[in-house]
Symmetry: C2
Subunit: 445 residues, 2 copies
């Protein structure tokens, strides 16, 4: 009994996937039951690193998703369209789907999973988050007994590579970005990575799994790393922190300990150097999950690349094949479609409530440039105090172009209050500018 | 449709398991389909922290494993007998089994999985290795597309706690052990932990999953931490290493790159401080898996304790419930028993070939006490050279009771050659004693 795969895309991940499927030795024996039936490509003439029979290649992707012989569609073309339409059409034709497409799932997950549930097919997406690191399946299966409290991760390799190099070389963002682009670690248009959009897609997917509800991507607060300067990295270092682009999803326990309201956000964060995520460097990814009763578990590994991503894609193919092998049509629902495995299928239909960022309580790092006049630190302190913003430390950290550089770190404070204080401070005659405002991992996070 | 669980044991892990099953709110909705039907205990009169209806408690464990109403038996009594017999009897009665019993699985896995395969039932054991850290299921499912090359882990919390305290306090083994016993981190009889036997059970289970074959526990080389002294920890530190009890299973690529022969071993190991496992401290566990094409992934978290272990037990219960829910009797084999999911069931029947420790190539750390006479370092070097043992460094690291303390670190050398050289060196007039011989993580590991 062979299960037939229709592969949409033969780029980096597609070629990596085909490579594994064509070389089953020393891997799980179930791989021998998988056959690449057809492969959809943009051009038939492009030279390829892997050898596939030319007759299975086609540029007609629509014909693959409707091919009656195919059991599983693997979508690795990426982007929003035609990926979304092809996935939906595959589902309509009763195919199971494996995808690495975080952008399409984060935006159209609602539509895609509703269709999949109606048709009684699986849509698996281990490869969409953190490349080769098992995190989707552990959340669905291994940690399913837990009440998840929080998850926090470094889920974008490009920004982590840039921040790591800024940290080790003392260079500024623009310089390192240009070099990363030259070396192929960043795209020509780096927006999705450096502005945090890719991380936002991923944390929306993770939050949905961890908290059992759908997430509106527009409600995920998102701030990228463009404004991080070499100076901030140096000062953070002196104060015992490293700066990472952190994706966070947690129960908003500020309102109630068992709250169903969530915080879901992506922003640069000062992490204490002893924090397990602080030493995750370069293109590596890591995700920390806090659950009750498991406590803290962390998953670490390569977050991108052909091999790691293909490892996740093929794992999903095999997981579907394993279900098919024991008879997926076993128990039918009233409408004649198969009942889905409740751990592997997406069962939730409600949307999660997400707390607006202004209502959150966070620690802040803020850097001021001020005229070196006596009393400026006192004025800052008084103003923050008037807005109920409690301060942990104020340090005049150096001089820059004859201006005093002052760094304030707050305790956990209400973002709204903090922003109001900042607005007032901006009008102080002694304050020349506020070059950076960053969040600091709270003691309770 | 409710699935009925028979729980054998209501100790730390059993009570943690019941606690989750009785409090399903904010966990996976499938938990609401699980019912604790009967609980086997040693004494009915013992006061318990959790409240269960008294009529479901019994001291007759045999009656639970044969109870026709029960779908899933959860064995958390530990130890070899009656655990083994109860598991086998449960299988005979067509029950699925969830166990946290590494000792029974490492010794009787052969018998247990053969019986389970014949009966068409699952035996799941996420809780048997590394407590709450998902590692069994990721190996079976999320990483199943990979050709696993090596796995390496800190899988015993007690020894890691002891080594961490020796490292931070500079104390000797016996002192820290006594204190760990007082604090409940080590058992009154600490043999299974400190002699590496518990870690050997766990690495045998992991190796079996990673390399798809059965493992003879007697062939797993095992060395504990009793002989580690404060001096070794200090010298290792000065040379840039920390000492950890490492469990390793890897393809023995010394013979051939695609070798099916394995190295499976547990021993204290000097790890470079920059190694990802070097910073895993206290009772935490971590497992590093190297696969092709995924690269290196690491799983980190609490390796023991009621909550974390129960998290893994209940995940296994839910995984079985999910299969039952979609109809496990779907496809029957010729003998009328259900076909098992090829990723979740144990499909291999062959034994793995394990390389004898004498044939391995490893780096060594060896500490000599010698009379402070000129030429002794030369003599050591010559003797090692004569036995083809290539040396990386020789350092006279200090003086102890008027004797010179010399530490040698070798390159990767054949263990057999190294042992022969040591035998010859023992006879040197200048060498008073060889207090420690430890392995060092090889550059290629």
């Amino acid at each position: 009994m062979a299960f037939k795969v229709g592969l949409l895309g033969l780029g980096t991940v597609g070629a990596g996937t085909a490579e594994i499927l064509l070389n089953p030795a020393q891997r799980h024996p179930l791989l021998q039951d998988i056959e690449i039936h057809r492969v959809g490509v943009r051009s038939l003439d492009k030279p390829r690193s892997i050898s596939l029979p030319t007759e299975i290649l086609t540029t007609d992707l629509e014909s693959i998703v409707s091919d009656p012989a195919i059991d599983i569609i693997v979508e690795v073309i990426g982007g929003l369209e035609p990926a979304r339409s092809l996935i939906l059409k595959a589902i309509e034709h009763g195919k199971h789907v494996v995808t690495a497409n975080k952008a399409a799932i984060a935006r159209y997950g609602d539509e895609i999973f509703t269709a999949a549930n109606q048709a009684g097919v699986y849509v698996l997406l281990e490869a969409a988050v953190a490349g080769g690191i098992p995190v989707i399946e552990p959340l669905k299966q291994s940690l399913c007994a837990n009440r998840i409290q929080a998850l926090m991760g470094i889920v974008n390799g490009t920004t982590n590579y840039i921040l790591t190099r800024m940290q080790t070389e003392g260079s500024d963002f623009e310089l390192v970005l240009a070099d990363a682009q030259r070396l192929g670690y960043a795209e020509a248009d780096p927006t999705a990575d450096v502005d945090g959009l890719d991380a936002a897609d991923k944390v929306a997917i993770l939050a949905s799994l961890a908290f059992g509800g759908r997430i509106k991507l527009a409600e995920v607060y998102c701030e990228g790393i463009r404004k991080i300067s070499a100076a901030d990295i140096t000062y953070a270092d002196r104060l015992g922190f490293v700066i990472k682009l952190l994706a966070t999803a947690k129960r908003d326990t500020q309102t109630a300990p068992d709250s169903d309201r969530l915080q879901v956000r992506v922003h640069p964060t000062l992490l204490p150097k002893s924090h397990p995520l602080a030493s995750v460097n370069g293109v590596y990814n890591a995700i920390l999950i806090q659950g009750e009763p498991v406590g803290q578990v962390m998953f670490f590994g390569p977050g991108a690349g052909s091999g790691p991503t293909a490892s996740a894609v093929v794992a999903d193919i095999l997981n579907i094949a394993a279900i098919l092998k024991v008879g997926r049509d076993a128990i039918l629902r009233a409408d004649g479609t198969p009942l889905l495995d409740p751990l592997l299928a997406c069962s939730h239909q409600e949307y999660c409530t997400i707390a607006p960022i202004e209502q959150l309580s966070t620690r802040f790092y803020v850097r001021f440039l001020a005229k070196d006049s006596p009393g400026v630190i006192g004025n800052l302190g008084t103003c923050f105090g008037n807005h109920n913003v409690s301060i942990e430390s104020v340090v005049q950290i150096g001089m820059r172009e004859k201006l005093a550089e002052i760094v304030v770190i707050t305790h956990d404070v209400c973002e709204g209050n903090f922003r109001q204080a900042l607005k007032e401070i901006e009008t102080f005659e002694a304050i020349t500018s506020i070059p950076s405002v960053l969040r600091v991992l709270g003691t309770e996070d």
